[in-house]
């Protein structure tokens, strides 16, 4: 008799719907358990750390405001990643596409706002300009992938570094249009030229928790999520993109224009990331932030990948997860100090992503302890016929 392995992994024939919720939730719980081990191993008390984390993220006065500030860019970069990853186009350049959107969006705001255009017009122009900036930067890896079959993973990532250098250059190493060149402070520390008031995005104020401002960008992100949901579930474009993601060859045989689709998806993904960039200008920073220790240190583009994967590329889930991860990010920044070393947030995010990935196994396979569901069919012996 052969020994059976105690655990067998077998393919699921059907994927229960509840797993689509259970896996991300389970991943979050599991990730916090594992991160607690990291905390204990490095001499911190996980309970008090987590309590502080939760309070700084959602409970303390003003904390929700800060969480929204962190969540808004994450919603954009998460949606950007979701739009592309869904088609198995691994655009990890949301970071750079966001910088580019910030640059072009700020240019539009400074130029049109400076000429005294009406505020709604200036803001709309910024949104368009930011989207185009991100789109252009996203199209570079798109074109290289569509026409030269170059891996978009590496090219989009490497372009992040280039975009970061451009951003820093504009504010720190040149007398560019975006840089503040007048006034005493400009000679002490280089900063971006402040946006005129007509280019500053309005927020929706509420009385909760001592005044939470819902930034315009957050609303824009929700609109983008609705648009993406519609595009991917209700249109021919979305269907074709899905087919292409599942099988390149099937798509080709079905007459889907693969190149065009790759370009369109990369442009879309880049444009969404670019909106995240211009929202940084208009909603929060009110100038182009070229400081290598400012916007570039936050890594919104990379965290967007965590957000997208945990939301299983569903646009509405992505927005929700962006809020939760935004809380984590905000608390990490607020608590940073000896009892809460920097990098912990990245560690927790990494573990969340690992467990979400491992959890994917559960949606595709069933793990059975003990004997397999069906007894293995007895080998059929064909009796040798007598010659």
């Amino acid at each position: 008799m052969r020994l059976r392995p105690p655990v067998t992994i077998e393919q699921r024939l059907r994927r229960p719907r509840w797993l689509a919720v259970a896996v991300p939730v389970g991943s979050l719980i599991f990730a916090f358990l594992v991160a607690a081990l990291v905390l204990v191993a490095t001499g911190h008390d996980p309970f008090s750390t987590y309590r502080q984390l939760f309070e700084a993220a959602f409970v303390q006065r003003g904390s929700l405001n800060q969480t929204l500030i962190a969540a808004t860019p994450l919603a954009f970069t998460g949606l950007a990643a979701a739009a592309a990853f869904r088609m198995k186009l691994y655009n990890i350049g949301a970071e750079g596409q966001m910088y580019m959107g910030a640059i072009t969006g700020a240019a539009a705001g400074l130029y049109l706002g400076g000429r005294g255009g009406p505020s709604p017009f200036v803001i709309a122009a910024m949104v368009v300009a930011g989207g185009f900036g991100g789109m252009a930067w996203g199209l570079i890896p798109g074109i290289l992938r569509a026409f030269f079959r170059t891996s978009e993973i590496l090219t989009s990532l490497l372009l992040n570094y280039v975009a970061g250098l451009v951003l820093t250059y504009l504010i720190f190493e040149s007398q560019s249009y975006w840089r503040q060149t007048q006034g005493f402070n400009a000679t002490v520390f280089p900063t971006g030229k402040p946006l005129p008031s007509s280019a500053v995005w309005p927020g929706l104020s509420t009385n909760l928790q001592g005044g939470i401002v819902l930034p315009l960008g957050a609303g824009l992100a929700v609109l983008v999520a609705v648009f993406l949901w519609f595009l991917y579930t209700r249109t021919r474009f979305g269907f074709e993109a899905q087919v292409l993601g599942d099988s390149d060859r099937a798509a080709r045989y079905a007459g889907i224009r693969v190149r065009r689709k790759i370009l369109a998806v990369m442009a879309l993904s880049g444009a969404i990331a670019g909106l995240g960039g211009v929202s940084q200008d208009g909603d929060f920073r009110h100038a182009l932030d070229g400081d290598p220790n400012g916007l570039q240190k936050l890594g919104y583009g990379y965290t967007g990948i965590v957000v997208a994967a945990l939301g299983r590329y569903n646009p509405f889930a992505v927005v929700l997860i962006a809020f939760l991860i935004g809380g984590l990010q905000n608390a990490g920044a607020a608590l940073q100090g000896p009892s809460f070393p920097s990098g912990l947030v990245g560690v927790i995010q990494g573990i969340i992503l690992f467990s979400a990935l491992g959890g994917e196994l559960l949606t595709r396979y069933r793990i059975r302890v003990g004997r397999p569901a069906r007894p293995p069919a007895a080998p059929v012996r064909v009796p040798e016929t007598a010659a």
């Binding site: 891996s151 490497l158 570094y161 280039v162 250059y169 190493e173 990948i305 990098g343 690992f354 994917e360």
Partner: protein
């Protein structure tokens, strides 16, 4: 003559290229087994911080401390690779997303930064570091002096690694088995090769090399610890494997080329040479050139002759083949 820009750049290219070389050799081994690991940047950073921690905290002779630092960096890199290996080999997770997760987990805003902070390593000069050790008179020889003899021990060790891996892949039975696993795991399995074990071992060894590459930065090139000190070297190393057509000897050439590009910006600055927005283009050059070379090798006919392992990025499940 030895101060001419060309000689200085080539010599610096060899030095700056060594971390790239170590990391790309590791990635090459993992990819030859069919496992794509995009976590190189993260593994390098953890290797870099743990190697640096060792030289700051261990009190022994310089040689012993540095050797121990290399071992710890390699172990740290391999430990990071274990996570990726478990997820993609045992749990059959998507290799691309898992590799990205590893870079987020371990990278510049993750574990490496956490460790650097928790162990208070930032803003300190290294207590021990690798220095050129051959006699000074040899280092003064024209041209070959600075390029070949003015290097530290890690450079010479990396040459040994290139030779060893080239020999391993083409002349040994495990090396040939490894290639079979990367090309056709089902065929390798039916020949009695343990696909899972080969993939685990080479992914882990790949991680160890990435850790060594990271430690090369913090122990030899810029002996200090700063968050995100690798600055994208891990990604260039992954691209290098593609340019090198999955061959170790070509990794060496590519690594030195990109090392020289990385050395260009500081060298131009030191000599006060400016040409337009020098800071911008000189710093962006390594990334832009990486993209350019990637496009060149991935388009058209070059692709046919590439040595890409056929099963790269695909999980092997016996029942599904």
């Amino acid at each position: 003559m030895n101060n001419s820009l060309a000689v200085v750049l080539i010599a610096a290219g060899v030095a700056y290229g060594t971390p790239l070389l170590f990391a790309s050799l590791g990635e090459l081994l993992a990819e030859r087994s069919g496992v794509l690991n995009l976590g190189v940047e993260g593994m390098m950073l953890v290797g870099a911080v743990m190697g640096f921690w060792t030289v700051q905290r261990v009190h022994a002779t310089t040689a012993a401390t540095l050797l121990l630092a290399l071992v710890i960096a390699a172990v740290a890199g391999a430990a990071m690779a274990t996570i990726h290996a478990f997820l993609v080999i045992t749990l059959r997770a998507n290799q691309i997303v898992s590799g990205l997760a590893l870079t987020i987990f371990a990278g510049a805003v993750g574990l490496s930064s956490y460790l650097g902070n928790n162990l208070t390593l930032s803003d300190q000069p290294a207590l021990h570091s690798f220095q050129p050790f051959l006699p000074g008179s040899m280092q003064k020889w024209p041209i070959v002096g600075p390029i070949l003899f003015g290097q530290n021990a890690l450079v010479y060790f990396s040459w040994l690694c290139v030779l060893a891996i080239a020999w391993y892949l083409s002349r040994t039975r495990p090396g040939l088995n490894l290639r079979a696993v990367g090309e056709s795991p089902a065929a390798a399995d039916s020949m009695g090769i343990d696909v899972t074990r080969y993939r685990y071992v080479h992914t882990l060894v790949g991680g160890a090399f990435a850790g060594l590459g990271g430690a090369t930065i913090t122990l030899a090139i810029t002996p200090q610890w700063v968050d995100g000190i690798t600055g994208g070297a891990g990604w260039i190393a992954i691209a290098l494997v593609i340019f090198a057509f999955w061959r170790p000897e070509l990794c060496l050439i590519g690594a030195y080329f990109f090392g020289a590009l990385q050395a260009l910006a500081p060298e131009l600055q030191a000599r006060n040479i400016t040409l337009g927005p020098t800071v911008l283009w000189a710093n962006a050059l390594p990334y832009v050139m990486t993209i350019a070379v990637l496009v060149a090798v991935s388009s058209g006919t070059a692709r046919r002759r590439l040595g890409a392992p056929s099963a790269l990025g695909v999980a092997y499940v016996r029942e599904e083949h």
